[in-house]
């Protein structure tokens, strides 16, 4: 209820109110405008506890996971980088320019997969962890939560993650800018020139991985979804193989043998028995944590990360833009009843759309048709409802078979063909195939083991064993087999695409095209970058 006793006093009262309002508004302004965000925190308020460290580490892995499996449907760079340019996949009827360009080796700077941004985002998060985890440890009052061992394990993972991302960068684009510190001060020039890939190997990738190895707790049982001792060794072996530094690759394979699998078993790595048994070959992809062969897989949880809808790797609701290459599909389908257990367990031969890769889903073999050769398995099926919207997919980063075959390749390259053959055979026999002997025609010339043929045999074994594991393209580049393998395939694809015979060009002969062009958005954002020849802007 308003009362008006102030008819006469009103002037004073109003001037008073006006003055108070004016003054209080004026003086309170500074505080008034000093607001804090409501659903985020500024960086100063972060890295202050073990909880923050855990969240920061999850942030780093999450960036890697999103990049590899997909920040949205079918954007799985794991496949687009590792296999889509190879003979494993081609564009489907739902392909866009980006997929067709991969298929036809006609990449342009506008192609989505030529963008290295997600790698550098992951590197940025690793850099942030490396810089701020020690600070967080200091702030944490419960010191038992931040023992040196715990902190070192976190740092090791951050260093290793950074190295692995740079390894992708140099394999895909060659020379690249180096950032080993988070970019925080806007006054600092954000533009950096490309440094030689040699420098990146020598100053980042190898030292980081070695640092990670020195920091990580040895002989611990790792969680398969995180980088542990084994993953660091495997990555180093992989890096040295790429560098063709076979002695060092062999050395790190040796170190891997001493590390433990996520099951708690020491890898060993000396026989077929250290691998996942033949009968349960598929289970290492479905339940990697319980496989003695697993080294590192990417985690995914559809309840929290939504659908792991990976083009060409998992089964989604929608039509994927890439499908299994038609020649590979027909070839594998043609020999589906051989004793090799892997091909039929890798993708669905009955689905002529060629879009059902079921390696990462739980499947089962039916009893073999008795008319088939001894040792053959029956048809293979995966439950029809399995799809990535309600099934998890855990893409493999490293596993022992991959390392066996890399080791075999290193041994072959260093003149130790007999040992090489032994490791190749571990994989072949586990798959149900007959071992090659030193006299097998596939690997010999004039009755003597031919290193080149052996290399091809190892490569073919990797092709079958590691399909949909993001390896094939890098294998072709590492062994310099791109043109040999891809040229005839691209020719056939061009013919299929109605390109007149006189205009079919094949993959071409320009090895500079091993590298990707630098994405236009990336180029536009820094004046210090230049395009990879022969690509044009």
């Amino acid at each position: 209820m308003l009362i008006f006793p102030f008819k006469n006093n009103m002037k004073k009262i109003f001037i008073g109110i006006a003055a108070i309002v004016a003054i209080s508004l004026g003086s309170a302004c500074k505080k008034f405008l000093d607001q804090a965000p409501l659903d985020k925190v500024s960086l100063d308020q972060f890295y202050k506890s073990r909880m923050d460290i855990d969240a920061g580490i999850a942030g780093m892995y999450s960036a890697f996971q999103q990049m590899m499996i997909g920040e949205s449907q079918f954007r799985n760079r794991y496949t687009h980088w590792g296999e889509a340019r190879s003979d494993n996949y081609m564009g489907s009827g739902y392909a866009g320019n980006t997929e067709i360009e991969n298929e036809m080796n006609s990449l342009s700077a506008g192609n989505t997969w030529t963008d290295w941004t997600p790698l550098y985002i992951t590197i940025g998060r690793a850099n942030l962890n490396i810089k701020f985890i020690p600070r967080a440890a200091e702030f944490e009052s419960q010191k038992a939560l931040v023992t040196p061992q715990i902190i070192n394990d976190y740092l090791a993972q951050s260093y290793a993650m950074r190295a692995i991302c740079y390894f992708y960068v140099v394999r895909l684009w060659g020379d690249a800018p180096i950032r080993v510190e988070p970019y925080l001060d806007t006054a600092e020039d954000p533009e950096k020139p490309r440094e030689s890939s040699e420098k990146i190997f020598n100053e980042i990738i190898i030292p980081d991985l070695e640092k990670a190895y020195s920091l990580i707790t040895k002989n611990a049982t790792p969680n398969v979804f995180y980088i542990g001792e084994g993953a660091i060794c495997a990555a180093l072996a992989d890096v040295y193989m790429w560098r063709k530094d076979y002695p060092n690759a062999i050395k790190w394979f040796g170190n891997l043998k001493k590390a433990k699998a996520p099951t708690g078993k020491v890898f060993g790595g000396t026989s077929m028995n250290d691998l996942q048994p033949k009968a349960s070959w598929n289970s290492q992809f479905v339940t990697p944590a319980s496989s003695p062969e697993s080294i590192w897989n990417i985690h995914w949880d559809f309840t929290k990360n939504a659908c792991a809808c990976m083009a060409g790797a998992s089964a989604a609701v929608n039509n994927a833009p890439i499908v299994i290459d038609i020649f590979l599909f027909n070839q594998w389908r043609a020999d589906q009843n051989t004793k090799d257990i892997r091909k039929k367990a890798t993708f669905d031969f009955t689905k002529l759309e060629r879009d059902r890769v079921w390696k990462y889903y739980l499947g089962a073999y039916a009893a073999a048709d008795p008319t088939l050769p001894a040792g053959s398995t029956g048809t293979y099926t995966v439950a029809a409802t399995d799809r990535a919207t309600d099934d998890n997919v855990y893409p493999v980063m490293y596993r022992l078979s991959d390392q066996y075959l890399l080791y075999a390749e290193a041994l072959n390259k260093t003149g130790r063909q007999a040992e090489s053959l032994q490791y190749l055979n571990f994989i072949r026999v586990r798959a149900g195939l007959d071992p090659y002997t030193a006299a097998s025609a596939e690997i010999t010339t004039n009755g003597v083991i031919d290193a080149d043929k052996l290399e091809d045999a190892i490569l073919e074994e990797r092709h079958i064993e590691l399909f949909a594991e993001g390896k094939r393209w890098f294998d072709l580049v590492r062994t310099d087999h791109v043109i040999k393998v891809m040229d005839p395939i691209v020719r056939q694809r061009q013919v299929l695409a109605n390109i007149p015979a006189d205009q079919v060009t094949g993959w071409g002969s320009d090895k500079r095209r091993y590298l990707l062009p630098i994405n236009r958005k990336v180029l536009n954002s820094s004046s210090k970058l230049y395009q990879n020849p022969p690509y044009t802007d």
């Binding site: 308003l2 009103m10 309002v21 405008l33 067709i100 533009e191 309840t303 820094s526």
Partner: protein
Amino acid sequence: MLIVAMNLVAAVAFSQSVIKITGKVTDSKGETLPGVGVKVKGTTLGATTSVDGKFTLNIPDAKSVLVFTYIGFVTKEEAVAGRTTINVQLKEAISSLDEVVVTGYGGTVKKRDLTSATSTVSAKDIAERQPVNLFDALQGRAAGVLVMNDSGEPGAEGTVQVRGPASLSEGGTQPLYVVDGVITENGSSINPNDIQSIEVLKDAASASIYGARAAAGVILITTKRGQDGKPRFDVQYAHQIGQMAHKIQQANSADLRYYRILQNRTSAGLSTDSLNPSYNSDNDLQDLLLGNTSRRNDVKVAVSGGQKGLTYYSSLNYLDDQGIALNSWAKSVQGRINVDYQATPKFKFTSSISYAWKKGNGTDINGSVRPVFDRPNNLRIYLPDGSLTSYLNSKRNPVANALLLKDETTSWTGQFNNTLNYDIIKGLKYTLVANASLKNEEDVFFQPRFLDDNGDENDGSNSLSKRFNWELQSYFNYNKTIARNHSISATLGVSADRSNSNRYIFDGLKKSFVNEEIYVINGSNIDLTGSRTTASTNSTASLFGRLNYNYKSKYLFSWVYRRDGSSRFGPNQKWGDFISGSAAWRFSDEKLMAWSKSFLSDGKLRFSYGSLGNDRIGDFEFLDLVIFGTGNYGGVGAAYLDSKKGNSGIQWENTVSKNIGTDLSFFKDRLTLTAEVYDKTTGGLLANRELPKETGFIQQRVNFGTIQNRGIEFVLGATPVSSKKLTWNVSGNITFERGTIKKLFGGQEVITDDDRHLLQVGGQIGDFLGWKNLGVYRWDASNAYAEDGTRLEPVNVSADGKTAEYYTYNGQVYTGTRRKMSGPAGDLIGGDVIWQDLNNDGIVDDSDRHVIGNAQPDCYLGLVNNFRYKQFNLSFIINSTIGGQVYNDFKVTLTNNSSSNGPALPEAIYGSWKKQGDIAEYPNFVELRARGNEKRNGNSKFLEDASFLRLSSARLTYNVPTGLTKKAFMKSASVFMYGTNILTWTNYTGYDPEFSSSVLTMGVDGGRYPKVKQFGLGVNISL
């Protein structure tokens, strides 16, 4: 509220000796005028004339002066001079020069004394149209104000752009809305009938009183208030029906079958089952989905009146709108209560409450009409028993989707505004404004299983957003005339505001809804990946002052200063200063100009210069922010730095605006002309800069560059005929404008996120980037070029199309070297698109991409005609934009052989290249993309002229003669018929070239809701 008001009435007693005055008010024809406000000058005493134009008023003093005001008539002052009967005749206002223009924070100025560029739209102007919202009311009315109206869709709004896009920030091109002195989110929830006047402040001199938020112009809206006298009831009812204005040719079943043959030429064959009735219908989906008759019921009721210092205006608007699209509808209720209470002669208390409820169903078609064209017309929609079909041939049934999909948005808006006015001494007034508003919006989405491709997944979500905002203003206004000729008015004040917003999103797991009648989300079915809450806040604090001086209304000056602080900027950058000055010279009052008095009644020149700001960026963009919860790895919630880097150095966007204008009035205001030239240069554009990706960040908000907008505006008003029986008013406005990007961060060229637009120094906002499409190669042999890049013409081409007997170069036989053009899949062949090879390197690639057009019009205009003949009134509005282009992305998707299912437009089916020698408009469908023939984001073929001329509104009103209305106890009554969007002339091949779009992705038509041609009938009654 009401109780308080009644107490106020009771608390104030008047006990003065009085003189009773009676009288009658008539117009120039002698007709009595009801509802005329009669006031005693300098007091709050007043009355309103009755139905027969009579009034009775008690005045305290025989020397009083009475002021008669009536909308549309010239205000008249009459000295009482001892009389007790005063009859007056009011003249109809031809010119609006004496109208008072609101300038913000309690300031007013007579229109003739304006020194700045301000456009006014009055209640009378608004009533000439039958507007549904503010955008309708403004369109075509004001020079320099480009309204892009999205009318057609129920509940749709539009955008208003004042003097070109002067910002790159989202929302930075939208003007600031100030309703009754209070900054309001936008003007869309205002009932147009509540509007007394709209002022558009276009230059710095007028707008800089709103400082940091005014760079895109300010729209001041004043709502109607009550007047003393008997209550007045206004009731308006209008019913309107509409039809899709223009249909696009859609493929029928026969077209589709032919198309399938074209598509499948190289594959095994057709999969059409010629006996299955499900695949052999022939529907017209466009008709089924968009061919409905739209209906709108619009009821507006207003009650106003008052007595002895207490006046009120209360209105209610109920709108029930059903669109042409199946099951698209919107309903709203908007209400307003304005109460003014003059507690004592010096103390006035004003209270306004406005509220709105809106609810609408956004069907699939609302965002884009693509679904209408998605399902081939041969697939049946209904089963023989009348029930709907669902997915067929992996294409959903859009009719079923429209009917069964629920996507309802409901919003509640409430605003409560209190103003205290106190006259401290004569001429000095203090005002305190306190305002609070709350807006809640709820979205409910539910897709039943029936609409799922496998028939087993239902899906639902529920979200609520809440925005609370308060504002406090405290200011003084001072007016004084010294020595008769020197007038001073000044304003000084402070203000502060804060807004808080929250959003809560709950997403249900797919398949998880057991019973489809109810869609609750709880622990058992919540989808963690889609559920979250977000929140943000921002504040502004300001100090402002204004000083106006004029000498005999001949030399006029105005200065404005404002200092703004915003929480959106870093500690050292929070504050910004905005200053403007303006001057005007009424040269027609100079003795020198005496010779022109016979025809030039008033002439004025105006100059203004000043600065304005824009702060519309996200909150806390000055900080490096750590985000939580959107990532998760191994069961641990991730935290990481936002990919948008913070920038502590970021500052206001600063617009310097210069304006030269002239206002001329001829033949006693029978003809008026306003012309303005302006230059509006925005520096420190707030935009996202692309950071080098190697930093681990993607973008950073920076002060990005400079844009200059220049323009010329003309407004012409005329009354060619003004007699007792017939009056004809015409007013037209035309604006020419052009903006140029002057500077960009580090000289960087920016391709916008939609990959269609380019920002570059020397370019314009809205530049389309793409490849020039020069047609389709007729033969394989047609791909032949001379060294200089000129295409050669093959003559006597062989049957297989591969070779020609010889070639001609500009008509001459060519014998030189021939080159071929190549694309991503090798040399181009017959049926491929001929692209312009910009750098003449023989390869069509990225380097041939260039600016192929622009989305902004060069010029836009509005023309309003108003005829009055006896009791009839006819008004119509024409508006037009000229120049500018639209990228018809809708057509791109319907001509690109996108998948094995989506049908194409007939023009593409029949106009595509099929065999050697075809002269075609569209390329060969097969392997369209692999051969680089699509270029979907930048194919100049799909860039179309957006110019249009539209008869956007017409209205014929019959005013029932006063004699008749009196007998029916009505003050006035009228019936009217009207139409909107009646005729459109355009070459655009999509539904309509006019639609709103955001500044960075301007002019892309992804399939907008078609415009609707509407006709309505209505009745207006005042009691």
